[in-house]
Structure formats: C-alpha cells, structure tokens
C-alpha cells in the first residue's frame, strides 16, 4: 500500500499521534477536519465509527479520553466525510518521509485492508500509519 494519495513528499509528514489498546497510531492531519470530544451515547450517529471496530476488533480496548476525528472526504465520490472515535491524541508532529517503513510483506494484505499503510519507528515504539480515507468502515 502506498502512502496516502496525493501527498507531497517534499513537505514533512504531519501526523496526529495517539495510542489505542497499547498500539501507537499516526494519522496525517491533512485527512482531518477537526477534533472534538466524545460525550457518550448521545453522540451515536450514522457517520460515527469506533476505530477498533474499523480495524476489525470487536472487543473494545479501554478509551481513557475518547475524541472524535472529523475525517475529510478524499474528493472522490466514494468517500463521504465521517467521524472516527479514537483515544485522546498525544501530539501533532512533523516526521521525515524517509523515516517511514512499509508494513512487512507477510502482514501487508491484512493491514492494508484495514488502512494501515506504513510503520514509523519512534523512540522505541512503532507508530502504525493509518489512512482514515481507506478504512473499511463496513466492518
């Protein structure tokens, strides 16, 4: 899986960094419209999805401070804006593209199907790069 489409690799990659269930994730802020607070069951809506379900996990990990990411559409007709519930983000940082590593070939089919397109090593952890515009929201 390649990097999120239409990215300018000349500019640094700005990632929204967060943890969920002990795994580190990073999302390109170019895909995000806004970040909001998840206030509970009153937020249930058709365009609201939990990240763990989108990744294919039924058992929810603990969400300490859930936040709602407003995902932009990709300009194509097949993806409409939606909202994704994640854990509270840790940071927004710029990363060098050259630091990014592709997912291992053995896991690539499975991970790519879930929108995970790369790995970024950082301070002893592995940040899983998530393309929100390629998540399988039907899961």
């Amino acid at each position: 899986m390649s990097a999120p489409g239409a990215v300018d690799q000349q500019r640094p990659l700005t990632l929204l960094h967060f943890f969920l269930g002990g795994a580190a994730f990073g999302v390109d802020i170019e895909q995000l419209a806004a970040i909001g607070v998840y206030r509970g069951e009153g937020e249930e809506d058709d365009d609201l999805y939990w990240l763990h379900r989108a990744l294919g996990y039924e058992t929810p990990p603990p969400y300490r401070a859930p936040r709602i990411l407003s995902i932009k559409d990709n300009g194509a007709s097949e993806l409409k804006p939606y909202r994704l519930i994640i854990e509270a983000p840790e940071d927004v940082r710029d990363f060098d593209w050259r630091q990014i590593r592709p997912v291992p070939p053995l896991l690539a089919p499975r991970l790519n199907a879930r929108g995970l397109w790369g790995v970024l090593p950082l301070a002893g952890t592995m940040i899983l790069l998530l393309d929100c515009q390629r998540l399988n929201l039907s899961m």
């Binding site: 700005t14 929204l16 802020i29 909001g36 607070v37 401070a65 509270a88 983000p89 940071d91 927004v92």
Partner: protein, 364 residues
C-alpha cells in the same frame, strides 16, 4: 515446893530457937513458960501456915507450870509457823524476783513495740498522705487525658475537614484538567487549521503548538497536584486512623485512670482505717508499756515489802526463840517451886525446834 517448905520450916525453927534462948536467958520460969507456949503456938502456926500456903499455892504453881508449858508449846508453834511463813516469804521473794525480771523484760518489749507501732503509725500516716496525693495526681491525670482526648478529637475534626477540602481541590483539579484538555484539543484543531492554511497558517500553527504545550504543562502540573493531593489524602486517612486509634487508646487510658482513681480512693479509705488502727495499737501499747512499768514498780514495792516481811519474820523468829528460851527457863523455875511430885517434863522437842530460816534462834 520443897524449897518453900524447907524455907518455912527453917525460918520457924530458927525463930523458935532464938526466942527460946532469949526467954531462957532473960525471963523467969513463968514468963518463960508463957513465952515457950507462945513460941510453940507460933511454930505450930507457922507450920500450919506453911501447909496451908502449900495447899493454896500448889495448884496455882501447877497452873503456872501448865501455862508456862502451854506458852512454851505455843511459842514453839509460833516459831514453827513463823518458820513456815519465813520459807513462804523466801519463796515469795524468789517468785517476785522472777516476776519482776519477767515484767521488766515485758516492759522493755512493750516499749520496743510501742516505738515500732509509733513508727508504723508514722509510716501509715505518710502512706495515707502519699495515697491521697496519688489519687489527686491520678485525678489530675484523668483531667489531662480528657483534655488530650478533646484536643485529639478537635485535631481529628480539623484533619477530616482538611481531607474534605483536599477532595474539593481534586474537583477543581478535574476542572482545570478538563480545561487543559479542551485547550489541548483547541490547539490540535488550530494545528489542523494551520496545516490547512498552508504557509499562511504557519505562525498560527506555532501558536497552536505553544498552546498545546501550555496545555500539556497544565495537565502535567495538575497531575502532580493530584498526586500530592492523593498523598495528602492518604496521609489524612492514615492520620485519621491513627487518631481514632489514639482516641481509643486514650479512652481506654481514661477508663483505666478512672478505675485507678476509684481504687486509690478505696485504698485511701483502707489506709485511713489502717492508720487509725495503728494509732489505736500504738496507744494501747503505750498504755501497756505504762501499765507494765507500773507493774514493775509495784513488784519492786512488793519485793521490798516481802523483804521487810522476811526481815520482820526473822526478827519475830528471833524473838520467839528468846521467848521460847524464857519460857523454858520459866518452866524450869516452876519445876523448882513445885512440891515433890512428878515434875512436868520439859518439851525437849520444842526446846530443840529448828532455827528460823535466815534468822538467829536462841534456845536453852
């Protein structure tokens, strides 16, 4: 009696002879016959008088001898009685000496007991005073414990209030945390907008970063504050538990102190009774000492009296001995004037009566 008869006859014959010679020498026959007749009459009268006197005096003399013998016997009996009495007096004197010695030891012992009992009284009084002071001190201690308990309770209430305030601080921290998180969220959104704005949003993005860092700093600070507050609350809880335990211990101490006060008060009563009893004993022993001293003095008087009595008995014994000697002599004299009848035997046993104990005896 023989002596009297002989003496009378001799006198009569002598007178007769003298008169006869005188008459023969001086007067004539008639007068001489008259005188001779008178002389004969005188001689006969004298003989008659002598015989009459003998008959009249003899019973008296015999009575006199009997009385003398009786006196002798009585004197002997008196001497024997006095001797017995002397023996008794000696034994009594010995007993008095022993009793006196025993009473002196008793008096000495009573004196020591009196001194010791007085010491006991002094010690009992001191113990009573100490016990009263102890009771007062324990009572004061009880009051102090009550004060401490009140202070601890007040401190406990203050600590509980402090714990409640720390919980309120926690709520404020939560509010601050919420604000910081929202601020951070705003900073994230600002970063998103800055990224969307491209170059024009770079400064805005810097501001967003700083705001986010400020929010992170606030969150860190609130986390530290929460940690300190948690520590304070834990310390408060430990302090509350410790204070409650201390309060319980103090309450137990109060109970023990109260029991001690009650026991000391009862001890005071007991010690007071003991002191009174000791005083009674001391008084009794002192009275006993005085009485024993008086007994010792009385025994001394008795001893002196016994000694005087013994001396008197000895003197009486001596006198009785002399009396007995006199009676023996009298008896011998009475035998000398008796007519020639069987003489009354002298009471040789009475004459040889044993000497009075401790005294001179004069026997003939």
């Amino acid at each position: 009696m023989k002596l009297l008869t002989r003496f009378a006859l001799f006198n009569a014959l002598t007178i007769a002879l003298v008169v006869a010679v005188t008459v023969v020498m001086t007067v004539d026959q008639v007068t001489g016959r008259v005188l001779l007749s008178a002389l004969l009459v005188a001689v006969i009268f004298t003989a008659a008088a002598t015989l009459l006197a003998r008959r009249l005096v003899l019973p008296t003399i015999e009575n006199f001898c009997a009385i003398t013998k009786d006196i002798h016997q009585r004197a002997g009996s008196i001497a024997s009685a006095i001797q017995q009495q002397s023996g008794q007096a000696s034994r009594l004197s010995s007993s008095v000496v022993e009793i006196s010695s025993t009473m002196e030891e008793f008096s000495s012992t009573a004196s020591q007991i009196a001194q010791h009992s007085q010491g006991v009284v002094t010690r009992a009084d001191q113990t009573l005073e100490d016990t009263k002071r102890g009771a007062a001190e324990v009572e004061n201690l009880t009051f102090k414990i009550n004060d401490i308990s009140s202070n601890i309770e007040a401190n406990l209430n203050e600590i509980i209030a402090l714990g409640k305030k720390s919980k309120e601080i926690n709520k404020i921290m939560e509010i601050i945390n919420n604000i910081a998180n929202q601020t951070k969220l705003i900073a994230f959104n600002a970063a998103l907008e800055a990224a969307s704005a491209g170059e024009a949003g770079k400064r805005f993005g810097v501001v967003a970063v700083e705001i986010r860092r400020l929010a992170d700093s606030v969150v860190e600070s609130t986390a530290e504050i929460e940690a300190r507050i948690t520590e304070i609350q834990d310390a408060v809880n430990r302090l509350v538990m410790s204070s409650e335990k201390s309060s319980q211990l103090i309450q137990e101490g109060q109970e023990y102190a109260s029991h001690t006060v009650v026991m000391l008060i009862e001890s005071v009563d007991g010690v007071e009774e003991t002191a009174d009893s000791a005083r009674q004993i001391s008084l009794s022993t002192q009275q006993q000492q005085v009485a024993s001293s008086q007994v010792v003095l009385a025994l001394k008087d008795i001893k002196e009296g016994v000694q005087v009595s013994t001396n008197a008995i000895q003197e009486a014994n001596r006198i009785i001995g002399e009396l007995n000697t006199l009676s023996t002599r009298l008896q011998a004299q009475s035998q000398a004037v008796r007519p020639d009848q069987n003489p009354l035997p002298l009471d040789q046993d009475e004459a040889a009566a044993p000497a009075a104990a401790g005294g001179e005896q004069h026997w003939t």
